[in-house]
């Protein structure tokens, strides 16, 4: 199984993993991390614990322990890096630009683009399908057609990764990936995706309470806050995005926009009711049918 891991997937894995369990299971697949993706991980992996520390939700010792954990994971991931130089040597300095042209990619070169470009190359070089794991659903939209038409492989998310790690273990694995582990890590991932929504709601409610002056502008702001709270409750990402676009363009909503930006990951990660539905579907499927490992197959 040959895979590329995106920055958000790696960061989610680091956060939800316990005692290097998933990290060790990753050894059962061949995975690659382009250097740029690794840099993105380094840049963003501490954001969560920094935020928890700012809210006084973790002690100093816990914070230090987390840092040590993250650093040790980064050391392991470093071993899977594909350096920029490797790509330049094989494909020249203009490779990414040429891929951008092929797929009409308007954003600047980033981890996802590099992963998709490398995936194309590796699929040809290794004559194999490539799985690209990303939790960035906007990226998924950007590259879906490319992966499909070029027959590179599939774009999957962290839910799929955990299920893959569950069934791909071999007899040599000393520590088995049990059904209970699978439920646990899917739950951990679920919490990882959604826990910040509570803070988003709290910040919005605090802001709402603080608006005292009666003015037309404030009425409009209160309306947008009310809409936003409703969308969070319903996990209606499409509507949330519409609100985001609207307030981005209007100076009057600056304070509200700042709150949105703080929780911006919600939009890129596609945290919405379709994602919830996916978790629930897996939960039901695991209960009714279960994912079969080699040992489970009837003889």
């Amino acid at each position: 199984m040959k895979c590329f891991l995106d920055a958000c997937t790696i960061i989610n894995l680091i956060h939800i993993d316990e005692d290097e369990f998933l990290l060790n299971k990753l050894e059962n697949i061949i995975y690659y991390i382009p250097e740029e993706v690794f840099n993105e991980v380094k840049l963003n992996v501490f954001v969560k614990i920094d935020e928890l520390a700012k809210r006084n939700e973790i002690s100093k010792t816990d914070y230090q322990d987390y840092k040590i954990k993250i650093d040790s994971y980064l050391i392991r991931f470093r071993q899977r890096i594909i350096s920029n130089q490797t790509i330049i040597d094989e494909l020249g300095v203009y490779y990414y630009d040429s891929i951008k042209e092929i797929i009409s990619y308007k954003k600047k070169t980033n981890g996802e683009l590099i992963s998709a470009s490398c995936a194309l190359f590796y699929s040809r070089k290794l004559l194999s399908k490539i799985l690209f794991f990303t939790d960035d659903f906007i990226a998924k939209g950007d590259f879906k057609d490319f992966f499909f038409y070029q027959q590179i492989g599939q774009i999957k998310d962290s839910i799929d990764l955990i299920v893959l790690l569950y069934w791909i273990e071999t007899d040599e694995d000393k520590v088995k990936f049990s059904d209970a582990d699978l439920s646990k890590y899917l739950k951990n991932l679920f919490v990882e995706y959604f826990y910040q929504l509570n803070y988003f709601k709290t910040d919005l409610n605090d802001f709402l309470q603080s608006i005292k002056v009666q003015s037309k502008n404030n009425i409009l702001i209160k309306t947008e806050i009310a809409k936003t709270l409703r969308c969070i409750n319903d996990l209606n990402l499409d509507e949330l995005q519409k609100i985001y676009k609207k307030i981005e363009m209007d100076k009057n909503y600056r304070e509200l926009l700042n709150i949105f930006k703080k929780y911006g990951y919600i939009f890129t990660l596609g945290i919405d009711n379709r994602k919830v539905a996916k978790f629930k579907e897996y939960e039901l499927y695991l209960k009714s049918t279960g994912i079969k490992k080699l040992l489970d197959l009837p003889t």
Partner: protein, 372 residues
């Protein structure tokens, strides 16, 4: 310049987007069936010695948080206690489900935050029940350290600031040695078992024989946020509930407010509440999406309770009755909150533009801001 009072004969905009923080502003309008359910439930807990867990569930914006603010107003609790013919009122705690890393500790801190130790001590002195109270907690406590801690809460010789600091865990070992050693308190409270034990004994003592307070009302709002708890924290919060109900077997009324969201329905609750807690849910109060008639009755009563002088311009004034029907129709089965949002925007825009009456043409002017 027009204002709500001169133009509309209203104290202010009666449509709140979130419940007020000022208890005086929290009123009940319409929905008499739900009102009665709460009244009966609280009356029973005031009168009878048992412990109950009640689940309040419903859609977003259906009034659960509002109920938690209203039914813990001291004036309302006094009224219900009088109905129950019991001279003492409940002691109520309202808190959202903690969102941080350690929910049990956060619950503990929230409760300690809300205890008015001075007030409690004053009540004890007034009723002259200190001796009996101390006898009672001596009888029921099985942990000497916790016993001494709770005794200290009631002990007039110990300054309120000092005991609060101790309860918050802000006293050093040396300070404890210096000021509390004489009272047999030799160490800090250190783990979840200590925190639960203190709260349990505190609750039991506050309601002993219903002579100080008739019962404890613990109201946990936003319970749906439990979906974002790790498994460890789900266990912790369940332990907290279970031990509270077990150890405070008399006189505890717990309400859990649960909003149906994309992440959780009341059926999903089974995942988050352990069997031992689930079986203790004695009843469920459902906050349904209101019918058209229920909304209109609510509106009439709400406006009436906000009037400054007697109103003779029609019970819906400043709205005309047609526009009320039109708005409800356009909102398509609104929750109470959605209805409040719409009318709040409508009345504020109308008032700012000096409209003397809010009819359908006024509504059409602002419709875009209101219907979304």
């Amino acid at each position: 310049m027009s204002s709500f009072s001169t133009e509309y004969n209203l104290e202010n905009n009666p449509f709140r987007l979130t419940p007020s923080n000022n208890p005086e502003e929290i009123i009940w309008a319409g929905f008499s069936d739900i009102y009665e359910k709460f009244e009966i439930r609280i009356k029973n807990s005031i009168r009878i010695s048992n412990s109950t867990l009640v689940l309040n569930w419903g859609e977003y914006g259906s009034g659960k948080t509002h109920a938690s603010r209203f039914f813990t107003k001291s004036t309302e609790l006094e009224r219900i206690a009088a109905l129950a013919n019991v001279p003492t009122i409940p002691y109520s705690f309202v808190m959202p489900l903690p969102k941080g890393k350690d929910p049990l500790y956060s619950c503990y801190i929230s409760i300690i935050d809300k205890i008015d130790i001075e007030e409690v001590r004053a009540q004890i002195a007034l009723l002259d029940i200190k001796e009996d109270l101390l006898d009672y907690i001596n009888k029921i406590s099985t942990n000497n350290h916790i016993l001494k801690v709770v005794e200290a809460i009631y002990d007039n010789e110990i300054e309120v600031d000092l005991i609060k600091k101790y309860l918050y865990g802000n006293l050093t070992g040396t300070e404890i040695n210096k000021s509390l050693r004489g009272k047999d308190i030799l160490r800090n409270l250190k783990d979840d078992n200590d925190f639960i034990a203190v709260i349990s004994l505190l609750f039991s003592s506050l309601t002993f024989d219903k002579r100080l307070y008739s019962c404890i009302i613990l109201w946990i709002d936003e319970f749906e946020d439990i979906t974002t708890y790790s498994n460890i924290n789900i266990d912790k919060i369940n332990k907290f509930f279970r031990e509270l109900i077990d150890n405070v077997s008399d006189n505890l009324l717990m309400f859990l407010n649960l909003t149906q969201t994309a992440l959780v329905t009341s059926e999903d609750l089974g995942h988050y509440l352990h069997e031992s807690v689930k079986t203790r849910i004695k009843s469920r109060i459902e906050f349904k999406i209101p019918s058209r008639d229920e909304i209109k009755l609510y509106l009439v009563e709400l406006l009436e309770k906000n009037r400054i002088v007697r109103n003779d311009k029609g019970e819906y004034f400043p709205f005309d009755v047609e526009v009320v029907d039109i708005v409800i129709g356009d909102l398509k089965n609104p929750s109470l909150r959605r209805f409040n949002e719409a009318l709040s925007t409508l009345i504020e825009l109308s008032q700012m533009d000096g409209k003397p009456l809010i009819n359908s043409s006024v509504y059409n002017e602002y419709k875009e801001e209101i219907i979304w």
